[in-house]
């Protein structure tokens, strides 16, 4: 039902949803300030901006999670007001959140049909639900059983479940908030094929991501937010990555370069792992004979697909898997049954992948989160010294440039990048010798990403050994001195910075997949 007053785009795509002069104010901040946003049907409408630019807020308004303070929404030209996600869903708008909203205690199919269970005479038809779920998962190329509990899934697989859930609801407008941040390249390719499929069927996709190359590949229209305001909007064909960055940041970002490491190979390694093996429940190995060394001042990256055992490697180092065998030596001392606390005191510390679940205590303030792992050092007599605590917090907030109104602010009020900096600050206060970071840039914008890498560079220059895990190929070419590739729990490649090639990395990361399983299309890039 085309109406004369609706303007169509240059491509002839029709606007299906228009947000007009949307403003949203939160305590202490203006999240959105008079933003216009047009969503075209049958197109991928990309929304980008740094953390805190207002993307997620705008999405929440479109999906009925939040109400705008002022401004209005037009759906097919008619003003609409969504009081809940349910109302938005009835209007054909579905959303996949950045922070997963799944019930870990329920199965995949129960999660997909939650609150809209298929019933007959009031009885849930589990089998039917599972059949539909199986088809959805098939379409997403995920060989998961519909009855599996979500708790038992890895992050990336949980994201797939979120996508399946949205797909199951016959959406006309699908909002994806960083859907690929936890996906492997194979999973990402599968998702892109699904997006292309949906788009061909006239579904409007609203796509939020920090991966700019990816956006240019799949996007049709690009809208850029900065500080809650509309910074630019343009067809994707006509723009470039540097242009997007400039519009997002309002300045040029200097990505940190690889520095020349000051590593003395004659020194004994600060961390040495010998034949680390972690058996998997139900047979096989999550980690198999993993050996590596790490020197002072070195940045070592571990690259691998989801499920390669990267997170588990860190968990073993922190002593969370007593069933693991092999040897871990830290500064010439073998770690055996030390607790997490002991390991932290010996100089090992982990910045976990899942900030919300493992990194932060949401009910504590920024300050209290920063000193959480370091309380014993702040004790005079037998109480905490306010003065010393304030000093340490102040140093950290300034040296890591954590943006916060006051140290007493609630941690939840900070943007993702700043929350990550708080977790890093907490780890650094323990005065570690080996800093481990698990996907440190997950869900963080370009500017903050560069800052985090800059911080890691600086730490390595001060003699810290940095070990980080990432599934993002471009990150391997930035700051690491050495890259180790894990695949299915085994080291399948090891490269110095100068020897790195994209092909070699991808090949090594997929190596054992090729021999043991047929390669999913797109995996080899």
């Amino acid at each position: 039902m085309t109406r004369p007053d609706i303007e169509t785009s240059a491509n002839g795509d029709e606007p299906v949803l228009v947000a007009e002069k949307i403003s949203k104010r939160f305590p202490g901040t203006v999240a959105l300030d008079g933003v216009d946003f047009t969503v075209y049907a049958g197109a991928v409408n990309v929304l980008i901006g740094e953390n805190g630019a207002g993307k997620s807020t705008l999405m929440k308004i479109l999906a009925g999670v939040d109400r705008p303070t002022s401004g209005r929404l037009l759906l097919k030209g008619m003003p609409v007001e969504f009081k809940s996600t349910r109302e938005a869903a009835q209007a054909g708008i579905g959303i996949i959140f950045q922070e997963l909203n799944l019930y870990p205690n329920l199965s995949i199919s129960e999660n997909i049909f939650v609150a809209r269970e298929i019933t007959r005479n009031g009885v849930v038809q589990h089998r039917q639900q599972e059949e539909i779920t199986a088809k959805l998962l098939d379409r997403l190329e995920q060989p998961l059983k519909p009855g599996t509990l979500v708790r038992d899934l890895r992050m990336g697989q949980q994201q797939i479940v979120e996508i399946a859930k949205a797909l199951s609801q016959n959406v006309r407008i699908l909002i994806m908030d960083e859907p690929t941040s936890a996906l492997t390249s194979a999973e990402t390719e599968a998702l892109f094929r699904i997006i292309a499929d949906l788009r061909a069927n006239g579904v409007a996709i609203i796509y939020i991501s920090h991966k700019l190359e990816e956006l240019l590949r799949i996007g049709d229209y690009v809208t850029i937010l900065r500080d809650g305001k509309l910074a630019a909007t343009a067809p994707a064909r006509s723009i470039t990555v540097p242009w997007m960055i400039e519009k997002m940041v309002g300045r040029n970002v200097n990505a940190p370069r690889h520095r020349t490491p000051a590593i003395s190979k004659n020194d004994p390694p600060v961390l040495e792992i010998k034949n680390l093996t972690l058996p998997r429940v139900g047979g096989g190995f999550t980690l198999e004979n993993v050996s590596l060394t790490l020197h002072r001042g070195e940045i070592l990256a571990i690259f691998g697909l989801m499920g390669a055992g990267r997170t588990e490697l860190f968990e073993c180092l922190m002593g969370l898997h007593p069933e693991a065998s092999g040897e871990i030596w830290l500064n010439g001392r073998q770690l055996l049954h030390e607790s997490v606390r002991d390991r932290i005191e010996l100089g090992l510390v982990l910045v976990p992948e899942d900030r919300q679940r493992l990194g932060l205590v949401q009910k504590l303030s920024v300050a209290q989160n920063i000193t959480l792992a370091n309380l014993n050092r702040l004790v005079t007599w037998f109480w905490l010294s306010d003065k010393r605590e304030a000093e340490e917090i102040d140093i950290m907030i300034r040296s890591l440039a954590i943006k916060t109104h006051s140290p007493k602010q609630s941690i939840t009020a900070l943007s993702g990048g700043n929350q990550q900096k708080v977790v890093i600050a907490k780890s650094l206060l323990t005065q570690p010798q080996v800093l481990m970071l698990d996907e440190p840039t997950r869900g963080i914008d370009v500017g903050a990403k560069a800052e985090i890498f800059g911080i890691m560079n600086g730490l390595a220059e001060k003699g810290l050994a940095v070990l980080f895990v990432s599934s993002e190929l471009p990150e391997m070419f930035t700051i690491p001195d050495r890259v180790i590739v894990l695949s299915k729990g085994k080291i399948t490649g090891q490269f110095l910075h100068d020897e790195l090639t994209e092909e070699a990395l991808v090949l090594a990361a997929g190596a054992r997949q090729q021999t043991e399983h047929p390669v999913p299309a797109g995996q080899t890039n």
């Binding site: 901040t29 932060l360 205590v361 009910k363 000193t371 309380l375 004790v379 905490l384």
Partner: protein, 353 residues
């Protein structure tokens, strides 16, 4: 909202008025306390007298001491249902130690302890009961509700077993055994104020200090806020949990001693359903049952609200049954307000933006 003071900062006077509103809302338990005191003072002249207030605070102290321990437990996201039984167990233990002593069969002697020793032993008993809870919860992974529910029965049963269900009467001790003076704990005065109140103030002050100023306290909040993040930050989560249940047991044992001392007798039913009063005081004081949020002073105020309400309604001659209804409604109201607090704060802060 009126603006009273000139703006202290760039926030402006309107914002000052609004933040004052938030501030007052946070203090609602305290305000409720003063309102109740005001109402009862008007309704009955017997209420606002020195004598009655001392009685009132004395009655409150018993609950407040228990509630202080309970606050630690609830801050970690746990619950302790066994405190009432621990009160009874500790009371019976004091009776047993004073009236019967400890028989050591091979030597054929009966050991009597002086009163300070009796107190220490009973407090140790409370700590042991708490440790039992803690071990169930940390080592055997039993949910706190179930673990302490079990202990509720075990400790009550033990209290009854200690004298075959009978009372230890007349706990005055004997001069020749050197164990006189037990009633002083419950009835004595220092500087004109009952010892019981001093004990309450001491417990509250130490607990508030621990919660606010020591690593232990901070870690209690962290464990209640996000247990897994706390663990990865190197906090010994299990030790913290053991600690809070042991503290809770100690506080309950103290309550048992005071009660037995006030009655000059130990009855196995002492402390029945006390756990609910303690939980009510904690909740009234604004502590979140989900853990991670709350204060000790809030708990004391919560206990005082319950105390004032009970005392005032008695003076007014309100029927016992109505008293229960009213107390219950006040607790419900407190929790409803607690739920409203976040929304209220956000809306106010929004206006400030």
């Amino acid at each position: 909202m009126s603006s009273i003071a000139p703006p202290a900062s760039s926030v402006g006077s309107k914002a000052f008025g609004l933040s004052l509103g938030v501030f007052l809302f946070r203090l609602r338990a305290l305000i409720a306390l003063f309102v109740l005191i005001g109402i009862f003072s008007v309704l009955t002249p017997a209420f606002f007298t020195e004598q009655n207030l001392i009685i009132l605070v004395g009655q409150t102290a018993i609950n407040a001491i228990m509630a202080v321990g309970m606050t630690f437990v609830i801050l970690t996201g746990g619950i302790d249902l066994s405190v009432g039984s621990t009160v009874g167990f500790s009371a019976m233990m004091s009776g047993l130690l004073i009236n019967r002593g400890v028989e050591i069969p091979p030597l054929g002697v009966v050991l009597y302890f002086n009163i300070p020793m009796v107190i220490v032993l009973c407090l140790c008993l409370g700590v042991l009961v708490g440790a039992f809870n803690g071990i169930l919860i940390t080592r055997f992974n039993v949910a706190p509700f179930i673990a302490t529910l079990g202990t509720l029965y075990v400790a009550r049963g033990a209290a009854q077993l200690s004298n075959d269900g009978a009372t230890f009467p007349n706990l005055v001790g004997k001069p020749e055994l050197g164990n006189t003076g037990f009633p002083i704990l419950g009835a004595g005065n220092v500087l004109g104020i009952p010892i019981v109140i001093w004990i309450m103030v001491f417990f509250a002050a130490v607990a508030a200090f621990m919660a606010g100023k020591t690593p232990f306290g901070r870690q209690v909040y962290a464990v209640g806020g996000n247990e897994r993040a706390a663990e990865l930050s190197g906090i010994y989560v299990n030790r913290i949990k053991m600690g809070v249940y042991m503290i809770c047991g100690l506080c309950a044992a103290m309550t048992g001693l005071i009660t037995a001392s006030q009655l000059v007798a130990a009855h196995p039913a002492i402390g029945e359903s006390y756990e609910l009063n303690a939980i009510a005081a904690v909740v009234l004081g604004g502590t979140s049952l989900a853990g991670g949020r709350g204060t000790m002073w809030g708990t004391i105020v919560g206990a005082l609200v319950i105390g004032v309400l009970t005392n005032g309604l008695v003076l007014l001659g309100v029927q016992e049954f109505w008293k229960k209804v009213i107390t219950g409604l006040v607790i419900i109201l407190a929790v409803v307000l607690d739920q409203l607090q976040e929304r209220f704060q956000q809306r106010l802060a929004l206006k400030r933006a």
